[in-house]
């Protein structure tokens, strides 16, 4: 079941993210809880990786380490060849909820990273307007978040993570709070944005279908402690339509994820 690549060798040249033997423990000593154990993988430039696993498997912890919000206990994490030792300006994060500031307009929210990092206002404003148009929110620039639907708010959250042109986009179950239909539409939308911008994306989800639909490569994380249970490439042509979910190859990938998550077959004997 273990598809092991030789991960002991140094990071591949051209890889944007390189994670080697990453472990993270909450608390110290015997009472400490091991949240992540010996995680190794790398991401090529422009690659879309989905990390799928059940609640509590440490997916969000992994993302926090990559975002520099949480220091790892062991192992190394490199972004473009330099170790991540704290928050970095070349990372964009999309959270589970849109995390918009209600006192800022749509444009103001998208401009937040530019304001924080003191980037060229005029240039960033043009870019923000272009990105807002790209996700179909043209005309809503001066609206406030409370005037938008949940799906529209999350699109603002995604565009905000792109404004400062980060080297990598980290997405932590960004569509988890949306209803099933909006969620599928957002998946199609995200694929379109990704194909236009070709950002390197690490996408955390607990939905096997979402993972297979979006990703070039799927990493399955099994819980307690979070370990890589399986890792495989999804060879489905792009752009993928929602109808691809009904095809046999798609079903096979989903079954593979399910098998990795439930080694005993799942359910009661």
């Amino acid at each position: 079941m273990n598809v092991q690549v030789d991960l002991t060798k140094p990071p591949l040249p051209g890889s944007v993210i390189s994670v080697r033997h990453l472990s993270l423990k909450y608390g110290r000593g015997a009472t400490g809880v091991l949240a992540l154990s010996d995680i190794s993988f790398s991401m090529a430039d422009g690659e879309f990786i989905a990390v799928v696993g059940p609640s509590g498997c440490g997916k969000s912890t992994l993302l926090k380490v990559l975002a520099g919000l949480l220091p790892q206990t062991e192992g190394e994490v490199d972004l473009n060849g330099t170790p991540i030792r704290g928050p970095r300006r070349d990372i964009g994060v999309v959270f589970q909820t849109p995390v918009l500031f209600p006192w800022r307009t749509v444009l103001g929210n998208v401009m937040l990273p530019a304001d924080v990092q003191g980037l060229d206002q005029e240039k960033m404003r043009r870019r923000a307007l272009e990105l807002i148009g790209m996700v179909g929110l043209g005309g809503f620039e001066q609206r406030y978040p409370r005037e938008l639907s949940g799906g529209m708010q999350q699109r603002v959250g995604i565009v905000r993570a792109l404004i400062h042109d980060p080297a990598i986009l980290l997405m932590d179950e960004p569509f988890g709070a949306l209803d099933a239909m909006t969620r599928e539409n957002m998946n199609v939308e995200l694929q379109r944005i990704w194909m236009e911008r070709r950002k390197t994306v690490l996408f955390i989800t607990h939905s096997t279908v979402e993972a297979v639909f979006l990703a070039d490569r799927v990493i399955v994380l099994t819980p307690r402690p979070g370990k890589i249970g399986d890792e495989f490439s999804v060879e489905l042509p792009r752009p993928r339509k929602l109808s691809v979910m009904n095809t046999e190859p798609f079903g096979a990938y989903v079954r593979r994820v399910r098998t990795a998550l439930n080694p005993g077959g799942g359910g009661m004997d």
Binding site: G68, L69, P87, V93, F95, T97, V99, P113
Partner: protein, 268 residues
């Protein structure tokens, strides 16, 4: 709140009926005017006071004491609240003192303030500031601490400095709490000023009320109560107006404000 075009008229009618019942009860029970005066007597006292220009100077004195006390008290409360909210060390050492002061009825300090600062404007301003101080300080601390963890993480992930997190996130996020505190502080400042005037003063509505009490002018005292209530409404309205301007984005405004008001249960 009106539930229909007729409800405002009904409301006026209800108040008129209450006043009528009051008038009738005073007449029927032959209540002496030095205990409970009839509304007509109060209105007459009010009219007399207005034509003899009795109130204006005193209203002016009370308003200036209240507003000065409000500004001084709120400025200090905001600064100290911010320092306490941002520094764990300061919070650790000041917290017990804050709790003790909060539990103490602040108006009990007013006689001391009068001894220390005399009978003039200063003692009234300090008294008003002292009473106004705590609700705003508590709300400032709570508001600055209330920033959502995800939002803080977002700011951190953008490598925001501590000052940027304060300016761009914590402060705007605290504004609903701060305005709820300001609304209470305004009314509290009026209370602080009036209490100081009642105890000892040369001017002001509280002093006027005290002197009327010596001459058993109960109708006059009622007329001042009425003026004070109008004054409180106007002062509170000013803060509410400012809040509507600043907090246009706060959708939960009224429900929130009343909630926050009740959380800062204060001892005057």
């Amino acid at each position: 709140m009106s539930r229909g075009p007729g409800s405002f008229a009904l409301r006026l009618l209800f108040i008129a009926a209450l006043l009528g019942a009051w008038e009738w009860a005073v007449f029927y029970f032959q209540t002496p005017a030095y205990i409970v005066p009839a509304p007509s007597k109060i209105a007459y006292a009010m009219y007399n006071g207005i034509v003899t220009n009795l109130y204006v100077g005193h209203i002016g004195a009370t308003i200036s004491e209240t507003l000065l006390g409000f500004v001084v008290g709120c400025a200090l409360a905001f600064m100290l609240g911010t320092v306490v909210a941002l520094s764990r060390t300061v919070e650790y050492y000041l917290y017990p003192i804050i709790i003790m002061f909060q539990a103490m009825p602040k108006v009990a300090l007013v006689p001391l303030i009068l001894v220390w600062f005399g009978l003039g404007l200063t003692s009234k301003v300090i008294s008003a500031a002292l009473v106004a101080f705590f609700p705003l300080m508590v709300n400032t601390i709570v508001g600055l601490h209330s920033a959502d963890e995800d939002r803080v993480n977002l700011m951190r992930s953008l490598s925001a400095s501590r000052w940027q997190i304060f300016r761009m996130l914590q402060l705007p996020n605290a504004m609903p709490y701060i305005f709820a505190g300001l609304e209470i502080a305004m009314i509290f400042a009026l209370i602080g000023a009036i209490v100081a005037e009642l105890i000892s003063s040369e001017r002001g509505l509280g002093m006027l009320m005290q002197s009327m009490s010596f001459t058993m002018d109960v109708a006059g005292q009622f007329s001042i109560l009425f003026i004070l209530s109008i004054l409180g409404l106007i002062l509170n309205g000013l803060v509410t107006l400012a809040r509507r301007k600043v907090l246009f984005w706060d959708t939960s405004r009224d429900a929130d404000a009343s909630q926050q008001t009740s959380t800062s249960g204060e001892v005057l």
